[in-house]
Assembly symmetry: C2
């Protein structure tokens, strides 16, 4: 019964070839400039054949987003070697790694954290196991800072993580969209934001957010988002 297996292997090979081609084109030419036709041409298949492997272009990019989280996860793993550092320096190192990821892999970063061109992202986002893993690891580090007395006991580790991560995403967006002025350096800005928020957390201001450590447990909760209806940005009419 090796035939089915070989067929499956063949399909898997093409599946991978599509992803590899899409990734290479995506990184070198930029997300939106990659067309199904270009991917098909690179793997020497017809454009239509792609659609027997992925239901839509979106799904190719979902698969690539998962690769992105795997990559971020891998680069984060290098930082585990820094376990000897004091908790606060670990935080610094990890978030520096997160920011550097946005520098080294701008297209992955854009896809994972910024892009709105894939409408289903909000539904699918929490399904990325690696995304949760990366996040939980960072939240753990925050908790260790609280335990070590670096941050006040009332500090919510998940919120502390969210504050720094969100701000760094802001820096990355400003850098990637080239909105910073000529006198501004994104790398320094990233570091300054981390330092300022760390100092702010240590000062322990009164904060409004009440976030559970694992929001996945709250999947049933409703009404947490503001009621504003955003345009859903369908790929085309």
């Amino acid at each position: 019964m090796g035939i089915k297996e070989r067929q499956e292997r063949d399909r898997e090979a093409v599946h991978r070839a599509i992803l590899d081609a899409a990734r290479e084109l995506f990184v070198s030419e930029g997300y939106r400039n990659v067309s199904i036709r270009k991917v098909a041409e690179r793997i020497e298949y017809s454009p239509a054949s792609i659609y027997s492997y992925f239901p839509s272009k979106d799904d190719i990019f979902f698969a690539l987003a998962e690769e992105g989280f795997r990559l971020l996860h891998g680069e984060r793993a290098d930082l585990d070697a820094l376990a000897v550092l004091p908790p606060l320096d670990r935080i610094r190192a990890i978030f520096t790694g997160f920011y550097r990821f946005s520098v080294n892999h701008p297209e992955y970063f854009s896809l994972m954290f910024v892009d709105r061109s894939v409408p289903r992202i909000s539904q699918e986002y929490e399904r990325f196991a690696f995304a949760r893993e990366v996040k939980n690891h960072l939240v753990d580090q925050m908790q260790q800072c609280v335990d070590a007395g670096v941050f006040p006991p009332a500090t919510q580790p998940h919120l502390a993580f969210r504050l720094v991560a969100t701000s760094l995403i802001g820096v990355a967006v400003m850098r990637l969209s080239d909105r910073l002025g000529p006198g501004e350096n994104a790398d320094d800005l990233a570091q300054d934001i981390v330092e300022t928020i760390i100092a702010g957390l240590q000062a322990g201001p009164v904060l409004r957010s009440h976030v559970h450590s694992d929001p996945c447990l709250l999947e049933e909760s409703i009404g947490t988002h503001s009621g504003l209806s955003l345009t859903s940005e369908e790929p085309h009419s």
Copy 2:
């Protein structure tokens, strides 16, 4: 000699009609879903006629970006009534206004601060008079906080502005791209980030950035950006 004037008025009317149609479609259907053909259809002209008013689709959106800054400027003007507040509360109010702008005008916000689909944005950005005006006003407010002793004397007002603004852009991006978990509320997060950074600035950590108050004066400066070459994202080949 009223003929030339009337002709000019007619052209100006069509010019405005294009912008109005583009803006309405843009706000209701989302930036990328607005096509030249849709704009043309709405103003009951042929698609080609648009090109005698704007060199490209990009330029329509540049004009809209300027409108966005005008809008932000206008909403900020309402806050001038809050001049009686203490400096720190003014900062809070103004940045809350900035964040709310991202909520109330997500498409304008996206265009002005996030979108990468208009490649020339980095060149044209500082040409927006309103952008500079809004920024300078906020930097002034920061300076007043320093003068009032709310922030340490060493605080760089432009950097303080940049820290908060960038972080809020991060929140807005997370919200607009629907990346926040079910237990997270963007409005609270925005407020918490402002409070945390204010607390951090008051603690006065050692920061790396050395930013001049008006980076426009440094337009000749080179090498301030990291050398990484980003894909330029041409609209099409």
